[in-house]
């Protein structure tokens, strides 16, 4: 099996170039295992991020044969011919398969992704009913792997767009019965939900079934109704 890996060495390469590596065609190997095989036995200079190998840490996202994928969950047996491995699209490449995640982290922090409380702390733990948990649980499964950003043409064209994961995370707290925050001003903007044209590929790309596209469309309706109805609930 041939792995065509995108290489970029800052200061050496003007732009990324492909390098072919022959790897054993093993049934139980994911793309990440093949990359680690290359790094350990063929070419120690190859750079890429990885950690948990089990789809939880969200650090091994790359573009595999043109699709944004977690390389730990994408297996060699899924392919017949050569497999191209490139860095995630939509982000600047630092080296080889490593991208600059700072813009993504900046977008995440814009939506105050934590429980915002006002007034006194509750005396005991804040109990939730199963229904209250169900309302936001799906959006809390995000592992910040950035596959949805890479799949989103709006984000790739316009890096100012807040993007799928950040808006889904905002909804994770908006729909939490314990949260008292208001994210209207950051979400109801052209860089927020109004920049989305509902391509829907963020949801197809998500390895954790978060459905960011749904989160965005739901908040569009929420924001629109809040803007139009004069007596709607505006907590800020």
């Amino acid at each position: 099996m041939i792995l065509r890996v995108s290489r970029y060495r800052p200061g050496v390469d003007a732009e990324p170039v492909f390098q072919d590596y022959e790897v054993p065609d093993r049934d139980d190997w994911a793309i990440l295992d093949a990359l680690n095989h290359i790094k350990d036995t063929v070419d120690g200079t190859l750079s890429f991020r990885w950690s948990c190998r089990m789809g939880i840490c969200g650090s091994c996202g790359m573009t595999v044969n043109g699709e944004p994928k977690l390389t730990c969950g994408t297996f060699l047996t899924d392919f017949t011919g050569p497999v191209t491995v490139e860095p995630l699209r939509g982000f600047a490449v630092i080296r080889d398969l490593v991208v600059d995640i700072d813009p993504f982290l900046a977008n995440l922090s814009k939506v105050t992704p934590w429980l915002v409380r006002e007034g006194e702390e509750p005396a005991s733990e804040f109990a939730q009913t199963p229904e209250q948990l169900e309302a936001y649980k799906q959006y809390s499964m995000c592992i910040n792997c950035m596959l949805c950003y890479s799949a989103c043409p709006v984000y790739v064209l316009n890096p100012d767009f807040l993007g799928p994961a950040a808006i889904a995370l905002a909804q994770r707290y908006n729909l939490d019965s314990r949260d008292m925050g208001d994210r209207f001003d950051v979400l109801s903007s052209e860089e927020g939900v109004w920049g989305c044209t509902f391509v829907g590929e963020c949801t197809s790309a998500c390895p954790k079934h978060v459905d960011p596209a749904e989160a965005i469309q739901r908040y569009k309706l929420t924001a629109a109704l809040r803007s139009v109805l004069p007596f709607s609930r505006r907590r800020s």
Binding site: P16, V93, P153, L157, T197, E214, R218
Partner: protein, 122 residues
């Protein structure tokens, strides 16, 4: 120091889903044409020039354009009614109404409105 690729002008050809998305969005051109066609029809009616309008509408290129418009607005209807439940999450007493029921309701409404239009214009 990092590398940022240049803007990909042909991004919509890179994946099948992008192409379907662009085709879905371009149906709006035919939604606009359908509205303009209705305006022309109403204008002809107001001027008492309906026979001339129908003759014009029967010329091959207008008829061909409207056949394409019919395909486009039908594609628009299917995609739009399918995607509507994403924005409208309905909860009844905590129970989330499944998407297929909302979509089923949408398509029933489409059928009912179409039957009404057919009944009025026939």
């Amino acid at each position: 120091m990092s590398y940022s690729p240049p803007r990909d002008r042909l991004w919509f050809l890179r994946r099948r889903a992008y192409l379907v998305f662009v085709l879905r969005e371009l149906t709006s051109l035919f939604v606009a044409w359908s509205a303009v066609y209705l305006i022309l029809l109403l204008d002809a009616f107001a001027d008492g020039a309906l026979p001339a309008f129908w003759d014009w509408a029967g010329t091959p290129w207008v008829l061909a354009l409207n056949v394409v418009a019919l395909a486009a607005v039908t594609f628009h209807a299917v995609t739009f009614l399918n995607l509507a439940p994403k924005a409208t999450v309905i909860r009844l007493d905590g129970w989330r109404v499944p998407d297929f029921m909302i979509v089923g309701g949408n398509f029933s409404a489409w059928l009912a409105v179409s039957a009404l239009i057919l009944w009025v214009l026939w």
